[in-house]
């Protein structure tokens, strides 16, 4: 067998016997002192990397996520099916042919929230079960790359979910036509999705490390996502009202934007700690 590794490094040999050993049970050194926090280490690692390299890693992670989802179809179809089924259930449970205004906005956002939870719960499962976390941690890359990639992955999931769920909502439940409201509604949904993706990624990274991840994920995520549902529903309510003469409620749009920003920063600050031992 003559295969060799190009550029292999290290000292030659491995056959010589050496006494490089010290006697076992030597004096115990004190607990590791002068340790840096994961964030500090990450900053140092990140400082040594050009931004282009981090972007390349984000792209690689995102590509991997989408490939795995395309091949397993474990998240997005379930999310979309859940949303459509929920609209059907509402249709019969409310015993109404159509809804509008506050009620319509509430049904839409609550349904999207619970459908999103399904995706959040599975966001890190392949990484945890198949060693993806370890492989990532062994690489000399900025840990934030995984946060960005997962947020983008969840945004992609939510985009596809809404591509199915919003027209289904228009057909099954909504009284007023979606046509005029759609451009503004897309904007409100996008703001809500950003918050769901940031909070969902943070919570999923925390929950996946535990044995009760399927339970802990929703339990942690739901209270944090309630303000997004409130903001999203209040902002989109005028758009879904009969006649929908006014635009989205600006106050609630600003609230959503602020909430997104705060949790985006929290996720960025905490993510390293969740990944490392």
């Amino acid at each position: 067998m003559s295969a060799t590794i190009p550029g292999a490094s290290g000292a030659a040999g491995g056959s010589g016997h050496s006494g490089g050993a010290e006697a076992p049970g030597g004096a115990g050194a004190p607990g590791a002192s002068g340790e840096r926090t994961p964030a500090e280490r990450n900053r140092r690692a990140g400082a040594a990397q050009p931004h282009g390299r981090t972007l390349a890693v984000v792209r690689a992670l995102l590509r991997k996520e989408l490939l795995v989802e395309l091949r397993t179809l474990e998240s997005v179809p379930g999310m979309a099916l859940f949303a459509v089924t929920t609209f059907v259930v509402f249709h019969f449970a409310l015993n109404r042919d159509s809804v509008d205004g506050d009620l319509a906005a509430g049904i839409l956002w609550v349904t999207l929230l619970f459908a999103a939870i399904l995706g959040v719960n599975r966001l890190f499962v392949a990484d945890a079960d198949q060693g993806g976390f370890d492989a990532f941690l062994l690489a000399p890359v900025d840990r934030s790359a995984m946060l960005f990639a997962k947020v983008l992955t969840l945004l992609a999931y939510l985009f596809v979910l809404e591509l199915v769920a919003v027209p289904a909502f228009g057909l099954l439940l909504l009284g007023p036509s979606l046509g005029h409201a759609l451009p503004a509604l897309i904007g409100v949904l996008a703001l809500g999705d950003l918050g769901i993706a940031a909070i969902g990624t943070l919570v999923a990274a925390l929950a996946v490390q535990t044995r009760a991840r399927d339970l802990l994920g929703p339990l942690l995520a739901l209270p944090l996502l309630v303000p997004i549902v409130i903001g999203g529903a209040r902002a989109s309510s005028p758009l879904l009202a009969l006649g929908h003469s006014s635009g989205p409620a600006v106050r609630w749009l600003l609230t959503l934007g602020l909430y997104d920003l705060v949790f985006g920063l929290i996720a960025f600050a905490l993510f390293d700690f969740l990944l490392e031992d």
Binding site: M1, A12, G14, H17, G28, A29, A32, G131, D277
Partner: protein, 225 residues
């Protein structure tokens, strides 16, 4: 030069002590083979050296860097072959290796080379879940050496491999790889043959630490009694 320097290392999981008072030193280019029954702490030791677990007491230096403080400087210089292949089952061998190549900033040409070296190029486009355990182990070896690491941490590397695969992979991860290696093994014969230094662990403590030339197979077997 010393590649691995451990002094008074302790690591616990909750109340249970997985490693306690472990002290050893391994020179560059040498091979340390770790023996011990299940639960003795072998895998924990590898994971501490790989920067995946933090030591709870003691000092650990790997490739001249102190852990966990300077772990960032060691990552990328270590190749870990663990029980789990650290590969995605739904991706093909090539897709998995390309993904790891991006993480380690390695050119695609190197992916092609290692696929050929481990003899998996003819199955490189098949999802990993369709491959046998031996084939997956070959891909895991390719992943572990993809970035040409200075230190190899190998947890029972020859398991699931047939003799032909062992012969093929030996230059990559075996004694002739010219790399510093820490190998966990349950095989006294082959383990002793490839070792420069032998560490025996029992219940997380060092039960044996000697140059391989001074260790007999009976001593290794004794660790398991």
């Amino acid at each position: 030069m010393t590649a691995v320097e451990v002094e008074g290392l302790a690591r616990h999981y909750g109340e249970r002590e997985a490693l306690s008072e472990v002290t050893l030193s391994l020179a560059s280019g040498q091979t340390l083979v770790v023996f011990g029954p299940n639960g003795a702490g072998k895998t924990t030791l590898l994971r501490v050296l790989a920067t995946l677990l933090r030591p709870h007491a003691g000092s650990v230096r790997v490739l001249g860097e102190s852990l966990p403080g300077d772990a960032w400087a060691v990552r990328g210089r270590i190749g870990l072959l663990a029980h789990e292949p650290l590969l995605y089952r739904e991706l093909t061998a090539r897709e998995n290796l390309r993904f790891h190549a991006r993480l380690h900033d390695v050119a695609d040409a190197r992916v092609r080379d290692v696929l050929e070296l481990v003899g998996i190029e003819h199955r490189a486009e098949e999802p990993l879940r369709t491959l046998s355990r031996g084939m997956v182990q070959r891909v895991a070896v390719a992943r572990a050496v993809l970035h040409d690491p200075e230190l190899l941490l190998l947890d029972e590397p020859w398991s699931n491999l047939d003799p032909a695969a062992v012969e093929r992979l030996e230059p990559l991860i075996g004694a002739s790889s010219a790399r510093t290696r820490v190998v966990c093994s349950h095989d006294p014969g082959n383990g002793l043959a490839e070792a420069d230094l032998v560490l025996g662990l029992r219940a997380g403590r060092v039960a044996l630490l000697e140059a391989a030339a001074d260790v007999t197979a009976e001593q290794i077997v004794g660790l398991y009694r």
